[in-house]
């Protein structure tokens, strides 16, 4: 695991930092605001830790057994790992039941995070017809849990098929497992400040992480006018807002440093670099013209 934060300058080095505001571009990556998806398919969870709880209404023993089976199966078949918690405002899945409904089960995202991932969802199981046997209960619990990690309906061999079943269907097929295990591989983050500091350079600040590293630090490349001018290595500055929004990833993914720059105007681009040897690709987080 990388432990130090530094930066490499490619080209002319900078001198001292004079925080004189000149041309400031503030990023839109503030953490904590709700944004909404535009498709029912975008129920992407925020990380591989899938916390869950039983609500006070979730009292049916057969339904609890089906839900417990589904959580354990998610854990064993995929990179996700389930953690039982009390129900809070950031619990990934809260299990509920209703006494009568026109459905087997229902998945709903209740709260989205700043980057459109689902922060909290509920799975509701019907405690009456047509949910009247354990095979259907286990299949439905598996099915709804699959939606909570971004799966759609399919016609495969696993529990993501729609409708009723008469044979045991409480696991995910290989296709779905592949999707679930690949959903968290790209690095991501936010560039919050791009600021020209006269006689010093271009201040670039934000945060970035690679889900494959969890708490570890990655590098960030700074491009100015299509030339790579700096690499911020092992970005691990403390960002408590990031840790609050993503407790699984932690707070230490921030960067705030100076890249060399000539006379303006300039186009500044910032890339988060995928950790070598792990799935995923580099991601361009922001490109901005600075006058």
């Amino acid at each position: 695991m990388k432990t130090s934060f530094g930066w490499r300058i490619i080209g002319r080095a900078t001198a001292s930092i004079a925080l004189v505001a000149c041309t400031v571009v503030v990023g839109a990556g503030r953490v904590g605001a709700n944004v909404y998806t535009t498709s029912p398919a975008d129920n992407k969870p925020d990380n591989f830790e899938h916390t869950f709880c039983w609500t006070s209404s979730f009292t049916s023993t057969p339904l609890r057994n089906a839900a417990a089976n589904a959580m354990a199966n998610l854990d064993s078949q995929t990179r996700y790992f389930d953690t039982a918690t009390g129900c809070t405002s950031v619990t990934d899945v809260q299990w509920e039941q209703v006494g009568s409904a026109n459905y087997f089960g229902l998945y709903e995202c209740i709260t989205y995070n700043a980057v459109g991932e689902c922060d909290r969802s509920r799975v509701t199981l019907n405690n009456a017809w047509p949910m009247d046997n354990d095979i259907q209960r286990r299949k439905t619990a598996c099915h709804e849990l699959g939606h909570s990690v971004g799966l759609l309906h399919d016609n495969g061999l696993g529990c993501m098929i729609s409708g009723s079943v008469s044979a045991e269907t409480s696991t995910y097929d290989a296709h779905d497992v592949g999707h679930m295990n690949q959903s968290q591989e790209e690095p991501f983050g936010s560039v919050d400040i791009i600021q020209r500091i006269p006689n010093v350079g271009m201040r670039v600040a934000g945060w970035a992480l690679d889900p494959d590293l969890r708490l570890g630090a990655i590098d960030v490349n700074i491009w100015i006018d299509n030339a790579l001018v700096a690499t911020f290595t092992n970005v691990s500055g403390t960002r408590s807002d990031v840790g609050a929004a993503y407790p699984f990833w932690g707070s230490n993914h921030g960067f705030d440093a100076i890249a060399p720059v000539g006379a303006g105007p300039n186009t500044v681009c910032v890339d988060a670099l995928n950790e070598p040897g792990t799935p995923g690709n580099n991601v361009q987080m922001r490109c901005q013209w600075v006058g």
């Binding site: 535009t38 498709s39 029912p40 006494g99 087997f104 998945y107 709903e108 729609s162 409708g163």
Partner: protein, 226 residues
């Protein structure tokens, strides 16, 4: 519609134009919450995204109709807060609903309750959105067909303000299955469940006598646009 003699006495060409305008305004109706809002079918449907139902699907409009107690053709004219499923004292577990106010132009199965004044009230889960968002996006100028049954209720499920969102004494309806709301989108039809858009379809293809839904090849997940 205006009935003033003053309107009808205008020179004939103006009289016809004004009469046509007034008739058009009357036919369109005024939105109950926002008289000038027309909304957009696809934007409205997208508000229901982020939820996925698993249920015994009807394989045709005919089957959906057979399972329904009421089928109406009309327009959504308002969206307001509905009953709260659960307890307000347990906000993490509470499930707010919205009540659609639907102006009925044609009953295709069943009958409207006494005192309805050609309106029915339909319950849907509110989800992550606000009631105001639904109200503003409601496609008040778009025709819709709704397949409905009495809202299922259980003594085991607490509910607060069960009468909220509709006139006293009027029943609350629910979709027969999550499929049961089809809205015209001008050259296509949108089913809010899964935000399914049937390209090139009209609401006529979803009449209760139809033996099949349009083919899957015509179905997309409606795009929210740029």
């Amino acid at each position: 519609m205006a009935t003033s003699r003053a309107v009808l006495r205008l020179p004939s060409r103006f009289g016809v134009a004004i009469a046509a305008l007034v008739m058009t305004m009357a036919a369109c109706g005024a939105g109950e919450d926002s008289p000038n809002a027309s909304g957009d079918t696809i934007a409205f449907a997208h508000l229901f995204g982020g939820r996925v139902y698993s249920y015994p699907q009807a394989k045709s409009p005919r089957e959906l109709g057979d399972r329904s107690g009421l089928i109406v053709f009309g327009r959504i004219v308002g969206v307001v807060d509905g009953p709260l499923h659960g307890r307000s004292a347990a906000p993490l577990e509470a499930r707010p609903t919205i009540t659609l106010h639907v102006s009925v132009s044609r009953v295709e199965k069943g009958s409207l309750p006494e005192g309805s004044e050609q309106k029915i009230y339909v319950e849907l889960l509110r989800g992550a959105r606000s009631t105001q968002e639904y109200a503003q996006a409601a496609p008040r100028q778009a025709d819709a067909r709704l397949f409905l049954t009495a809202v299922p209720r259980s003594d085991a499920d607490p509910i607060e303000q069960p009468e909220r969102g509709r006139p006293k004494g009027q029943p609350l309806w629910g979709l027969t299955t999550p499929q049961g709301l089809f809205i015209d989108a001008g050259g296509s039809v949108v089913q809010i469940d899964d935000v399914r858009q049937y390209e090139g379809a009209s609401l006529d293809l979803f009449r209760p006598s139809a033996n099949s839904f349009p083919p899957d090849s015509s179905v997309t997940t409606a795009s929210a646009g740029p």
